[in-house]
């Protein structure tokens, strides 16, 4: 279970998050939505220690992690994995080596054993034919799936997805959606997805929270969002250019 309590975060004079609080129930597919630059990525980076809040608390499985240093963050990062927006594979290694790296480091496997295990994991995301290719040779959707495979190597309970479908073609995007849903249904993983892809949101989300101007505007399920009278929310989820919504 993850809880954000009164998070405030500023960069210089600009306050990006002004008192954000919500809970993420375990085992769900949880979407954080909002306009570009509203602070969604900033928020989830707090969960893996890439950023620290100015004030507020973050609770993950009963531990308050907002003041953890790099050493204390180690175990947290094995529970909570992240798939970056641009997939962020290591360009100097093949896909198999990319997936094998955390296996070598955390499970003390030999190189051979790690590569074998890596190929097996690439099968799960249906990328095993490209195991020996380098990331720059692959398309965005393919890189995304390898990145997901790599994130899963630490056997996490939570996986964070930073705009997983943003730069993908529609077919690849739906495949990624299906993968995220599968993780939750079959492996019991809690997925936290930052997104503004309306198709994704309304096909796989269990619960949604919308950030607007640094605060939580609304929280609820898909039906709650579709039925809300709030003009700002309606404008966002129906994708209209004009209305009360201000960036």
């Amino acid at each position: 279970m993850i809880q954000f309590k009164n998070i405030i975060k500023s960069f210089g004079p600009k306050t990006v998050l002004q008192d954000v609080s919500f809970d993420v129930p375990t085992g769900s597919v949880f979407f954080i939505i909002g306009a570009s630059g509203v602070g969604k990525s900033v928020l989830i980076k707090h969960l893996v220690g890439l950023l620290y809040p100015d004030s507020g608390e973050i609770w993950l499985d009963g531990q308050e992690i907002s003041r953890f240093d790099e050493v204390q963050m180690g175990p947290v990062r094995k529970k909570c994995a992240m798939v970056f927006q641009h997939s962020t594979l290591f360009d100097s290694m093949t896909c198999a080596e990319n997936v094998a790296l955390p296996l070598r480091k955390h499970k003390n496997l030999s190189l051979k054993a790690a590569l074998a295990e890596a190929r097996h994991r690439l099968e799960i995301v249906r990328m095993q034919e490209f195991a020996d290719r380098y990331p720059p040779e692959l398309g965005d959707g393919m890189r995304k799936r390898v990145a997901i495979a790599r994130a899963l190597t630490v056997d996490p309970s939570y996986v964070l997805f930073d705009e997983p479908t943003t730069s993908l073609d529609p077919v690849s995007a739906r495949r990624v959606d299906a993968l995220i849903r599968e993780l939750s249904d079959k492996l019991g993983v809690t997925s936290i997805v930052v997104s503004h892809d309306l198709t994704s949101i309304f096909s796989i989300a269990d619960r949604i929270v919308m950030l607007y101007r640094g605060k939580v505007r609304m929280e609820g399920g898909r039906q709650d969002f579709k039925a809300t009278p709030d003009g700002v929310v309606q404008q966002f989820i129906t994708g209209r250019a004009t209305g009360p919504f201000e960036l």
Partner: protein, 273 residues
């Protein structure tokens, strides 16, 4: 005393104060860089004792850096040896001291020129390259990805590269010493009819000793530390996308060059002959 018309205080600052502000700002920047590099040094050392350095990355970098620098060090060393002889030749001819050509060209080469030029070339070839790689990794979030995978970037990425740079410079200086003397000997023959035997005799005649070689090697280790630190520091602190990478590379090359010369002087002074 002539009456002075006072300039309005809200006018543009005078040239002197702008200059002083610039100097002050440069000084602060230099201090910040030096501080950052020192902190990095401690973090790298803390991963060496007890050794927590990724051995695969270490070997990969040693190979890559060594292979990359070999041709350029070879060319530089051969030409440098030749140039040293050409410069010493004027003096040697003036005093008719052909027997001392080995010493004349040799001491400058071993103590000073070979370590210096090798360091400058490696700073360009290896140091700048390393900064570009690290900087690109930083701006494409690959470094963040490592941290999120709970892999320590210093052990995995930085320490192997740092150690490789120092080791590469040391070995390349050794190699450059030999090649430079080789180039010098044969240029001596071509230009002054000094046979290579006479050259090598002059070299080992007792005026030059192993101490001079060791002096040069110690310097090359120090230079390696400077290049490694500058290269990794500027790579890691890259900001601002692709143009930022270019700026970091520029900074590395300059800082390495300046650092090399300052430390060259300090080491010469400390080792005192």
């Amino acid at each position: 005393m002539a009456a002075q018309t006072t300039a309005p205080t809200s006018a543009a600052p005078s040239a002197v104060s702008t200059f002083l502000a610039g100097v002050g700002r440069s000084f602060l920047e230099i201090a910040e860089t030096a501080g950052g590099m020192t902190i990095l040094l401690f973090r790298v050392i803390s991963r060496c004792v007890p050794p927590r350095v990724d051995s695969r990355e270490l070997l990969k970098n040693l190979y890559k850096m060594g292979v990359k620098s070999l041709p350029i060090v070879a060319v530089t060393a051969l030409f440098t040896g030749a140039i040293m002889v050409i410069q010493a030749a004027t003096i040697v001819k003036r005093y008719g001291a052909e027997g001392l050509l080995g010493w004349g060209a040799g001491f400058g080469t071993l103590r000073e020129i070979a370590p210096l030029l090798t360091a400058l070339m490696i700073s360009g070839r290896v140091g700048a390259n390393n900064t570009a790689e690290l900087g690109t990794m930083v701006v494409t979030e690959q470094l963040d990805a490592l941290r999120v995978l709970a892999i320590d970037p210093i052990s995995f990425l930085i320490a192997p590269r740092f150690i490789s740079i120092v080791a590469t410079l040391f070995m390349m200086t050794l190699f450059a010493d030999a090649l430079a003397l080789f180039g010098a000997a044969y240029t001596g023959q071509a230009l002054l009819d000094v046979s290579p035997t006479t050259f090598y005799n002059g070299l080992t005649s007792g005026l030059l000793g192993f101490g001079d070689v060791a002096n040069g090697l110690f310097k090359s280790t120090v230079f390696g530390l400077v290049i490694g630190l500058a290269s990794c520091h500027f790579g890691l602190s890259t900001t601002g996308g692709a143009p930022g990478v270019g700026r970091s590379v520029n900074a590395t090359v300059m800082a390495s060059a300046a650092g090399i010369f300052v430390l060259d002087y300090l080491t010469s002074f400390a080792l005192g002959g």
